[in-house]
């Protein structure tokens, strides 16, 4: 399985080439195109345990309820094009079996390979107030994962401590831990600064961030549109 990222800049998309026996799964709305021999199915989970509960949890995490899975027949090769909704970059994360990556809700696009596991993890109620989702997705095993964001994506090597505003997280290695905390020393200052809550990371590992906050964009545009019923 090969993940190719097409183009540069704001409108990147991905083209995944794969063979029989390899399983690719994506967030259900992410497919742009596929070769004719690709068999698509929609399930609550690519395989294994989670079932309906996994679907529900994923839905709360900002992903769709369903996961699309793609397969090709014996001896065949297929390709699937994938894209995120908003203008922004995409990135592949390689899973080597030793690390676990945690994706924030909404940033997961697809994953595939020999043996990729996806789990939905409850993040605690602190996350709700902070604007991050209740659940994050955990990816482990061997293969590749594809994430997409709003704006440019940056990989940061964290060693020690690092502060990230909520809404900018794409994914992090599980060797890192985070706590939701207020941005400034006092609660009043945190809110006056407009930063509210931030994520304080600790440990050693990689962190992928997006330059722009999706919710910020939505809140800017939403009030300009006609009211919905």
């Amino acid at each position: 399985m090969k993940f190719n990222i097409l183009e540069t800049g704001a409108f990147q998309s991905a083209l995944v080439e794969f063979e029989h026996g390899e399983e690719l799964f994506s967030e259900s709305g992410a497919m742009v195109r596929a070769s004719g021999n690709v068999e698509m199915d929609v399930s609550t989970r690519s395989r294994g345990k989670s079932g309906i509960m996994g679907g529900l949890k994923r839905m709360i995490s900002g992903e769709s309820f369903f996961v699309s899975t793609y397969k090709v027949g014996p001896g065949e090769k297929g390709e699937v094009g994938l894209a995120p909704v908003l203008p922004g970059e995409m990135k592949t994360i390689s899973l080597d079996g030793s690390t676990t990556w945690v994706c924030s809700g909404g940033s997961f696009i697809a994953a595939g390979g020999d043996d990729v596991e996806m789990e939905t993890r409850f993040q605690g109620f602190g996350n709700v107030f902070s604007g991050e989702g209740l659940f994050f997705l955990e990816l482990s095993g061997v293969g590749d994962a594809l994430v997409g964001g709003f704006g440019a994506l940056h990989e940061i090597e964290v060693s020690g401590e690092f502060t990230l505003d909520t809404g900018h997280l794409i994914a992090y290695e599980k060797t890192l831990e985070y706590k939701i905390s207020k941005a400034a020393s006092s609660l009043t200052q945190s809110f006056l600064s407009g930063e509210g809550f931030v994520m304080k990371f600790e440990g050693h590992g990689k962190l992928i961030v997006q330059t722009h906050d999706v919710t910020g964009f939505g809140k800017r545009l939403g009030p300009l549109l006609p009211e919905r019923e």
Partner: protein
Amino acid sequence: MKYRIECQPGYSYLEVELNPGDSIASESGSMAWMDPGVEMETSTRGGVFAGLKRSFLSGESFFQNTYTSEEQGSRLALAPGPSGAIVALELNGEEVFLQKGAYLASIGDIKIDTKFDGLRGFFNEGLFILKCSGTGTLFFNAFGDIQQVSLSGKNVGNNADDNFADDWEEAVQVDGDYTVDNGYAVAWDPSLDYRLTTGRKIRSFLFGDQIMLRFSGEGRVWVQSRSPQAFASWIHPFRRVKSKNNN
């Protein structure tokens, strides 16, 4: 007439240099800037009926503008609504189908007509798609980057090659099937047959999964990298909710 497509793919616009005798037709509202020598004429192009058909059935504008100039080298810039790539396609008596809203401009004798898409277009963007035919250069636009896909599944997009380690075939491959999500198909050759499908399994239909265009035959499909529909549904929850009391 010289033309250039600048700022590909993210924020493409089309710039032309008009000399006496040249003319370019464009979707109304797409003019971004122009030299004082450029003259604009607005018409329904093809008559009132053609204009009506275009605006009501395919979502393009009722009026189209034609630009000419009496001076040498007058510059005119045309920019599409969505930010994304522009494709220049030479037509020599051939036809090409465009998705609703994709037409930007045309040079030469190119006729833009609407085509009834029949029942298969029922779930499509609109019931009608644009049929462009004639001889000249046709410009159409996309939301995001655009990739040309041949039906063997080989990507033959202009810029894509840079990012591929493999050797990709230059020529358009023929024969086969290819599936493109409804929101991403921008244009295709009329030699292709297509039908609407959902996933293979019935439940994907029941749970409102995406609708896809399944192409078969020989020809090219141009695919954009972002979907206007998906973007619109993303923004929807951010809209304010209408208050329920009727006072």
